[in-house]
Amino acid sequence: MHLLVPFFIAALGLQAQAPRPSEVQERRLSNGARLLLVERRGLSAFNGTLVFQGGRAEEPATAPGATDLLAAALYSTTWPEDVAPAKNQADLEALLKQEEGLLEALRLERLRLRRDPGTTTQVPALEARLESIQARLQTLCSSSPLSDLYLARGGRQKAEATTDALLVQTELPLESFEFWCRTEAQRLRALELSRFSGVRAELVADLRSNGTLGTALLCGAALPGHPYGRDLLDYLPALEALRWSDLRAYARHSLRPDRMTIILVGSFSVEKVLPVVERHLGSLPVVPEGEEAILPEITPGLGDRRVEAALGTSPRLLTGWRIPARRHPDHLALRMAAQLLGGGQSSRLESQLVRTKNLVRKVQVSLDEPGGRFPGLLVADLRPREGHSLAEVAGALHSEILRLQQDPIPQEEWLRASAQLEAEHLRVEDDPAALAHSLGTAWASGGDWRLAELDIQALRGLVPEVVQDAARTWLSPSHRTTVLLEPNPGSSQDPVEAELVRVLKTLASARIPDLAQREHLVAEGVRQLRMLSSEERLKTLKLLEAQLAPEKR
């Protein structure tokens, strides 16, 4: 009987201190945009978040990286010339057009030189002309420190590109509220993107330097053919070919009011803010809906997949299970499963694999990788201790999954995981930026901001058997993809893989004239070859080499 006491205490505690649902008020603007308002008294500043549904998953093949580029070129900084059309706006746009033309000419000339080295080059002349245009552009752009309009008013803005959305968070003193509404409306009207070329160069440099990432390998292998499995690194040539006007056209379609939710957290009432928001953001023109992206379905039971690669500086085991989208009834149960496995320092993987068996030194479990709008992944990221193999770690992880599926979940453990999720929810409620982010993500990935609240309410009705059922259904070998990463000292790329890339490129160069298409096919080929064991890869390499002319081997 006394065993029940902790339950009662816990249950009473949950009711006594259950997080109050944040009082979110929802309104629709005349142009279709949604407004969510959370009133918080006593704040002298506000958080204004814009969420545009879509994100990387909806980028067409011709505009890879568009969401990341918009996050950096349209948002993050607020230059006067981008939001307040000046008398020299026509000059600015004309110069941006010229810059675009020269960048494209340079790109093509460099490609031509790669194909026909030794021929006369136009590169220096084009570079000189580009430099001159960019110098003229600079004279039209703001040059003094603190010309960022928000920074000058004590504010800040950050933008985040995800697979499901573009999220932009701004914080400003309360008195700048109308200024924020006006500025954001003007930014969307103008879509000037005056710093496009610099931002694109920065993104390309980042992608090149960081190379392939483990999670990208996992998503690519686990979600083949779906935009969730796309690695931007494979689309570098297309990204380099993306023009200023292409990005503007994409932004006009994807950042339209009916795909936008405005979230406000601050010390103001809906009566006060609604007319202001309507006047500015509500007056953005309604853009006729274009063709919506049709995304392929992902079959969860694709079979057990396995990838081996040499990457990084230490061994790492990444295991992903294809799970349903956030709206699916099993999703909450899987969230609880993830919590039991890897939430907190006393979770199963921490206590068993890190402490008891001493196999692993670092554990991380995440849900909805890379997004939650479509079926994604539940990922266990494990880094073995010195002296323990990846196979050993994979075996131990498998045992823990079986234990979760088969053995009853102790009540103490269940209550612990529930308490952690409750406390996490409370921490999110307490932080205006986190709350806005949580509501925005729920809307972008689940189609309804209420999911942020409903999840925690539904959690109280969840029982262990439901979690075990979901674990048996979704965390099965047929849904699993395993990526085994071993370091390769002295090089960031496996020598066999490097050779495979060289051979594939040589073979492709003879058959596919378009460089972008060629590089994409090579990347896809490498991705497929990573599914093979080391021995099979070596055999394939020899077979491919045999197809090369002797002097090219």
Partner: protein
């Protein structure tokens, strides 16, 4: 009955109390700041313990890091390995420990109903952790491995490597030299209540806070004086080493050249200058293609060269841009604009509990900028501060890229 009414009345009064910082000091010297905020049933605690020059003996670079890792994972006198974590997790309490510029920080976030338990566990970790020699060896291995093969993307590794003053950077030999005795002596020297500041924020009243702190940390005693380990290249050294010392190079096949310089402000630089320059420098139009940001209180300048750009060219460009700005300085109009922005920005703290806690801590440490001093700041002082902050001799510089291209760097 009277007692119940008294408690109820006290609770009501404390509910009505206005937010504000109250401070008190325990008999053991622990300074406590209390900020009441009743919006959500949460309590946040931050404990800061200051590191001082002389805390790290010569040849023991990495001692604070190794101490932190061993201390965080150790058993306590009452709780076996994992039990403390389990107790924390049982109530959804978050407890983290970090080594930051200037000292150790413990951060605790708990539902207010679990505040007693949470503070008890913090005290357990702080006062009763056993330093285990086996754990020390395991963590030493981890530190050595991370030194040999740091994790993260090449960009992250470069940034991470530049985060620390070269003089305080651990080496294989310094990590190998650290003994359990060093750890014990370091603990006695550093983990003292008279070096610490505790901040309590959230759903608890002043009297409640006093009771809580007294019960949990009132027994924290000042250990008998230990011989300071001087002279020491300290973690909190106020003078950075010259850029030529330990210039970092991270070979990264396939990557374009990246040059990065980190300027850490001297401890003597007035806070007002640090804050204004943090607003002015990143947006200066003379800097591109060099990008400058403020990270962890440091100015971080980055230049990405196009593929094939010799490292020496990128290197010179970054240095020239920073030096030109340092020589030129800012104008009176820039100063005025930055002052206005700084004054307005303070209201943003109301959105961030952590910023409010940080503000209270900075004030207690005498490191916060004040409105009066900000208004009195002259242009000459601002530009002198800029010159001091961007002194080329004090920059920590590193480069990343193709191994062949790195060979062209002027300083190796």
């Amino acid at each position: 009955m009277k007692a119940t009414l008294g408690i109820l009345l006290a609770a009501t009064l404390s509910l009505q109390a206005q937010s504000g910082v109250h401070s008190f000091t325990l008999a053991n010297g622990l300074r406590v700041l209390h900020l009441e905020e009743r919006e959500h049933p949460l309590v946040r605690v931050r404990l800061f313990v200051r590191l001082e020059p002389g805390d790290v003996p010569p040849g023991r670079q990495g001692l604070p890091l190794l101490f932190q890792r061993t201390f965080t994972k150790g058993e306590t006198a009452d709780l076996k390995a994992g039990e403390l974590d389990r107790n924390l997790d049982d109530s959804g309490i978050q407890l983290t420990q970090s080594l930051e510029a200037g000292g150790f920080t413990w951060r605790l976030v708990t539902r207010s109903r679990d505040q007693d338990r949470a503070m008890g566990l913090l005290a357990d970790r702080l006062l009763r952790t056993l330093l285990d020699p086996t754990l020390l060896e395991a963590e030493r291995l981890v530190c050595k491995r991370l030194l040999e093969r740091p994790e993260g993307t090449p960009h992250e590794r470069l940034r991470q490597a530049l985060a620390q003053d070269p003089a305080a950077r651990p080496s294989m030999s310094s990590l190998g030299a650290i003994t359990l005795q060093d750890l014990l002596a370091f603990r006695a020297r550093v983990l003292r209540p008279d070096r610490a500041i505790l901040i309590l924020h959230g759903d608890l009243g002043l009297e409640q806070a006093k009771r809580l702190v007294l019960l949990s940390l009132g027994a924290w005693s000042v250990p008998s004086p230990t011989t300071p380990a001087s002279p020491a290249p300290s973690l909190v050294s106020t003078t950075a080493s010259p850029g030529s010392v330990g210039t970092l190079q991270i070979p990264s096949p396939g990557a374009g050249i990246r040059i990065q310089a980190v300027a850490s402000p001297s401890g003597k630089l007035p806070r007002e200058i640090v804050e204004l320059l943090g607003l002015l420098v990143p947006g200066d139009a003379s800097l591109p293609p060099v990008r400058v940001g403020v990270e962890d209180g440091c100015l971080v300048a980055t230049l990405d060269g196009e593929t094939g750009t010799p490292a020496s060219v990128a290197w010179s460009l970054l240095h020239d841009r920073l030096e030109a700005l340092r020589q030129r300085g800012f104008t009176q109009a820039d100063l005025e604009r930055a002052r206005v922005a700084w004054l307005a920005r303070r209201s943003l703290d109301s959105l961030h509990v952590e910023a409010q806690i940080y503000g209270a801590l900075a004030e207690a440490l005498g490191q916060s900028a004040t409105e009066d001093r900000m208004r009195a700041l002259s242009l000459e002082a601002l530009n002198a501060g800029l010159s001091q902050w961007l002194d080329p001799a004090k920059l920590r510089v590193g480069a990343l890229g193709e191994p062949e291209l790195l060979k062209t760097l002027p300083i190796r």
